[in-house]
Symmetry: D3
Subunit: 258 residues, 6 copies
Amino acid sequence: MISRTFARRLRARESLVGYWSQLPVPAVQERVARHGYDYVCFDAQHGFLDYRALLDGLIAVDAGAALSKSGCAGLVRVIANNVGVIGQALDAGAEGVIVPLVDTPEQARAAVEACRFPPKGVRSYGPMRASLRSGPVTADMNDEVACVVMIETREGLANLEAIAAVEGVDGLYVGPADLMLSLGGRTANDEALADEFEATLARIAEVAERAGIAAGIHTNEGTVAARRLAQGYTFASISSDLNHLDKAAAGHLRDARA
Amino acid sequence: MISRTFARRLRARESLVGYWSQLPVPAVQERVARHGYDYVCFDAQHGFLDYRALLDGLIAVDAGAALSKSGCAGLVRVIANNVGVIGQALDAGAEGVIVPLVDTPEQARAAVEACRFPPKGVRSYGPMRASLRSGPVTADMNDEVACVVMIETREGLANLEAIAAVEGVDGLYVGPADLMLSLGGRTANDEALADEFEATLARIAEVAERAGIAAGIHTNEGTVAARRLAQGYTFASISSDLNHLDKAAAGHLRDARA
Amino acid sequence: MISRTFARRLRARESLVGYWSQLPVPAVQERVARHGYDYVCFDAQHGFLDYRALLDGLIAVDAGAALSKSGCAGLVRVIANNVGVIGQALDAGAEGVIVPLVDTPEQARAAVEACRFPPKGVRSYGPMRASLRSGPVTADMNDEVACVVMIETREGLANLEAIAAVEGVDGLYVGPADLMLSLGGRTANDEALADEFEATLARIAEVAERAGIAAGIHTNEGTVAARRLAQGYTFASISSDLNHLDKAAAGHLRDARA
Amino acid sequence: MISRTFARRLRARESLVGYWSQLPVPAVQERVARHGYDYVCFDAQHGFLDYRALLDGLIAVDAGAALSKSGCAGLVRVIANNVGVIGQALDAGAEGVIVPLVDTPEQARAAVEACRFPPKGVRSYGPMRASLRSGPVTADMNDEVACVVMIETREGLANLEAIAAVEGVDGLYVGPADLMLSLGGRTANDEALADEFEATLARIAEVAERAGIAAGIHTNEGTVAARRLAQGYTFASISSDLNHLDKAAAGHLRDARA
Amino acid sequence: MISRTFARRLRARESLVGYWSQLPVPAVQERVARHGYDYVCFDAQHGFLDYRALLDGLIAVDAGAALSKSGCAGLVRVIANNVGVIGQALDAGAEGVIVPLVDTPEQARAAVEACRFPPKGVRSYGPMRASLRSGPVTADMNDEVACVVMIETREGLANLEAIAAVEGVDGLYVGPADLMLSLGGRTANDEALADEFEATLARIAEVAERAGIAAGIHTNEGTVAARRLAQGYTFASISSDLNHLDKAAAGHLRDARA
Amino acid sequence: MISRTFARRLRARESLVGYWSQLPVPAVQERVARHGYDYVCFDAQHGFLDYRALLDGLIAVDAGAALSKSGCAGLVRVIANNVGVIGQALDAGAEGVIVPLVDTPEQARAAVEACRFPPKGVRSYGPMRASLRSGPVTADMNDEVACVVMIETREGLANLEAIAAVEGVDGLYVGPADLMLSLGGRTANDEALADEFEATLARIAEVAERAGIAAGIHTNEGTVAARRLAQGYTFASISSDLNHLDKAAAGHLRDARA
Ligand SMILES: [Mg+2]
Ligand SMILES: [Mg+2]
Ligand SMILES: [Mg+2]
Ligand SMILES: [Mg+2]
Ligand SMILES: [Mg+2]
Ligand SMILES: [Mg+2]
């Protein structure tokens, strides 16, 4: 089943679980989608993904969604807060974008405008694959696109409330690694700063809740995702195909040589 | 460390553990290789792999091997027992091939000849990447290539001893799924035939041992690989990146929604 | 809607209309599938298609089928009557193959066996994408695969009845261009031989009908397809994206300069 | 015949007809070019095109042009008004760029400078394919490149005369869909605003004429292109391979089932 | 200038010089073609070339030929003497094929038939790119295709006269490396056998001359090509982009560190 | 041998020789790396390289480095001074970037920050391949990345000392072609300006020396590289595979026809 309601579910602060994909293999994304994830997010910033991987991968998510019970949306974490690359992801059929490194309300506004057609925004018209699943009224197409901004820097934290208040921002998304480094972590996962990190996560979720928008976070495992959702986050991504594969390969080798 | 001794280790019936790769992502194969597997085998018969995936993937195995303690060889399970495709895999730098559906000693001989330069065989000269790691004497190059044939059909079982006796066959490799179907299984993993299946596996390992050649088998998990190696198999592949990823995605979703 | 019943519809001699695709663009095949064609056939013999185009294209057909009212099957016209390439197409999710240049009942039998798992045939087990939509019982998987053979040579015509009688052949498919050349045509569409050509087409449809199997044919336009279906053919392909595009580009230029 | 005079013909306000290409298939662009179009424009903003599609496609246009009577130029509609991407298109052999979303004279100036080598502009030197058809004098190379800016926003309309007056702007190009949305259209083709839309088109053509530069427009059909050229536009693109293919597939299916 | 007369020039035993290409970069082949080589041969047996590299590369040769004074033909050294792969190369626009490992007159006949449409041969009709430059009469298309067979084995040498006598064989082509190994060479370039090797080369050229067909040979440098042409060979390939690049990189490093 | 010390060697002003790669063929870069170059730089601004070429090419450099005596680093000349594209190159495993068109100290600072993780910079965390060869402490990862800025414009020359003084700039790199054009050259290699050009080169090397940072330059041949290194430059790139191949093809043809 394919449902084009991801943006609405996100805005309604439903509890959503997604998978984070970094490998350029549509046949992988098709499999993930059919398992029943609410979304598959293509990591075009750090993943091994070029444009063709996004385009064919988003098609594959729709094919996999047709095999799942509840549908699955394709999202893209874009490489930059840029009208061209955001438009390209949406044209390719993404139901939403996650925009990295948003530090100010101005940047948040730019992200929103890149997701909306004129006169609400500056997205250029050419909804190549998007139009297959939408009607022609652009206001409706605007509604079907989720705009999520990443909070992952010191400046972004300082401007948190103002960013959350920008009209059209549908959700905040925590990048834990950069956030930890911004807090002064020596590594992306610095135990010494765990308390401050957790407090910051709690604050972000609260700000989102007060603003009535979604709060999302990156996790490495399903159990962590469950915990974050229980703590007030409304959506959580499990990351990633590359990491899971790396761990599986290491584990099986240990087992084989045991 | 890169060692070009895979064929020698295989012939010496050392205990070897490999990983079975079906995804066209060299950066994945590099990671697997550096974990310390003895080989990574590219599945060009059933995997999502085209020629470029083989070529760039074999390079990546060499890059990963340089990061591992013990080296790692790249192998290819070719799509057919064909001199062209076997030569192409070897030119691309594979240290050996696993040839499917070998039913007769004649077919085994053809596989061997496809792996050897004249006058020993019919491999055409053009060792594009292979020559980077070999000297120019073709007899030496022949020695560095492992030729493994798959036993996976009723006819192959019937000719088992004769196939194992073909000069130049360096190992037998069991394809459990097709073997099970050949025994009459309703599915590729039919419990009703488990006893006959195990007996057949034991027989294959024994035939290989008597012939003084390697015996290999396909497994889905490291623990199974360990068991097969304990039972007399000299090498075992753990399969595959695609399956491991599929299971991980399903498992994390269950955990996240628990 | 996705239905895995193409082979059954074909065998029931339902009237089916397909589209013939030669361009390596999954986003094109998705669009074609959603229009409601009964099948999209990927031309891996003469089209501009490599393995990745087949794999990602078959996924795209499934995505497009989910948007159509009645489903759409992905087929592959393979480059050769070869167990490796036929298996690769089926693993990638094709619901059937069209096998070129089948001249004898032996060749027809080989095509059938390449489509069936042991013990019925010699297809190697590894239903990568196929398994997403099938259960694990291989006899069922065999049933879901359509095997169509092409009649396009003088020898094929001579052996027509014997080929149609081979168990497991689900349909005959006329390649009009090669058939015309085999009849002695100077070009692939030689008017001088039109009568003999039409008589031959009629004979092929009759032989298929008597054998109780499907009869298919290649056409360049929808109107021709309609006529062939009215004449006794049970399925017709309209060919092709490349040709249609070529004609459209020429026509619009004429209009623009008029 | 290959002629490197596109920029001169454009500047001379000759009447030119182009084709708009969105599919990553060089063999398609070769065919289009040989039909005699004055240009093929690669849509790198909304088309399914990555860098390799541009590079190999521009080569294919040159191959097709060699088969045509009058030559054919390759252009690129770039994804952004950015010196890097504009330079990359020109290095790949484009004889001109169409730059989207130009709203101000400053932006128009930036587009021009991205197309010119120092000291006239800021294009970085590396005319990979461009140098195959040009001499080494950079002033000459500058002359051979057409710089066309898109008028498609409210702000662009407000600055129309100023943009047209920027030295080095060789033409204005209307993006009808975004223009319609900017005028307040509910859809990209809103009948309710047809009069205002037509008046705006007329104004743009007049401004271009007064400025002595070319005026171009996007159309869906050859007949519309003919009409626009008759109305004062000096060049018109017919768009696109994807749309034409989509319509052909739908039409043939209707015919086949009639 | 593009001329489709390569086959005729070859048959007329004109002296022709070609370049041997192993890198999958159309922009490289375009450059080579414009230098004025009589042909560029794509090495699909040992080169790093997949189908897309052939297709886009053959287009690029035509683009480069248009820049040269005398035209340049694209050829393909196919991976196997197989009707499917030979047809695919010709459909993609190759003006001829070089078929490896031809050992017997029967194999030579098979190569010829794979190059000719019925009733002369068994090539399947679908001249995708070939038709852009040919008329529709298949006998003419047959005439425009050069069929060259490789002599590189002991058996091939034994059958030399019989192979040369097969109707439709347009030329013999020496693979020096395999030939040397077949003569018993320890390496592909074994000085110890130089006399026998040279005598064999002379014999092949004589047999070709007596049969009235072309005689070609593989060389590593232009000076060697010149020598072979002076010795009676009618065409010579200089091999290859990969080797030349390798040598250049090594040489410049020596110079830089001198 | 793989050494991750390129940045340290560069900062120590060791004499380094690199190769400039513009062809998307990892198997070529592997060969170049094993010859013993200190670095291979991928030209993502003007080369025929997309993201996949960078990623797989950087893996290939590591594979080739493992075959060399002294290691070889992979660098990327990025298409723009942009945090997204710089991060992508470093994630893919580049040990440094060469950033074009740096005109001001502010731009130099932006380049540096794009290369450093917070709090020192703004690189987003996701060291996909980089982490295979580094520890988890981000300060260490920062140290291992070389940031080189290009001096190639009039404005850059005017700000030379200020740019060299920016903390974190590890080297200056001369783009001779653009520099020549900036000086007023009619071509990229204008003999009339040779004296001013040489004086400018000398000045850049001196400024770098006084600032205690590296000075690099682009050359076409090893002999020129040797001369530049003798004149005070600390690193020199030899450019490029494409040019060397083009020259080799032209030269061999001359020889063959002599
Ligand atoms: Mg627009
Ligand atoms: Mg050979
Ligand atoms: Mg099998
Ligand atoms: Mg520059
Ligand atoms: Mg045919
Ligand atoms: Mg981040």
